[in-house]
């Protein structure tokens, strides 16, 4: 089992949800986070019009609001899910986000005490 953590644009969340649902992974966790990448935060990529003096300042905003979605998938599906997330979230602009894949030792479903692969949807 692998955990896929994707940091994406907030406005792409619902499209990502639809695609993950179609691929058989409707379950995921989303957290509203702040972050910055190699470019150290760019004001131009938020949905609203930031004040001009913020845009003028070099370095732009300190942090950009992002959504962190995390889901645990079977080993065999990692590539499929990653490719799907990349396809949906790709705009070609800086700030599309990043995906991390990390190993998971065990998963337990609290309601039924199922463990391992069975506990994933």
């Amino acid at each position: 089992m692998k955990e896929i953590m994707a940091i994406i644009r907030p406005k792409k969340v619902s499209k990502t949800k639809d695609v993950l649902d179609k691929l058989g992974y409707p379950a995921f966790t989303a957290v509203s986070v702040m972050g910055r990448g190699k470019q150290r935060g760019i004001a131009g990529e938020v949905n609203c019009e930031p004040p001009a003096d913020i845009l003028k300042r070099s370095g732009g905003m300190k942090y950009i609001p992002k959504r962190l979605i995390s889901l645990t998938v079977h080993d065999a599906d990692v590539e499929l899910i990653v490719k799907a997330i990349i396809k949906v979230n790709h705009t070609g602009q800086i700030g599309d986000g990043r995906i991390f894949v990390s190993p998971v030792d065990n998963v337990v479903r609290v309601r039924t005490s199922e463990e391992g692969d069975q506990a994933i949807a």
Binding site: R40, G92, P103
Partner: protein, 105 residues
Amino acid sequence: MKMIRAMVRPEAADIITEGLAEGGFFSLTKMHVFGRGKQKGIKIGDVHYDELPKVMIMLVVKEDAVDEVVDLIKVNAYTGNFGDGKIFVTPIDATYTVRTGETGI
């Protein structure tokens, strides 16, 4: 690659991120979290606070940079009191950049 997750004092978060930026680690994600440690929260007078607000700073770095990043966080997060926080390092199998589809940091 390793993921470094540091739970730190909210007031120290900006100092830490600035310290990391000076060391060349600009990219990071931070979020507000609540938690408690070994001391089971804090008791001030009659009021017992079970869960305390913290900021979680999360970044993924190459394996040879882990010690440097942990040191940078430790130096800037330190006050010597309970509640300075904890740092967790976990393995990461792969990273992808959405814009380019490339792997690697």
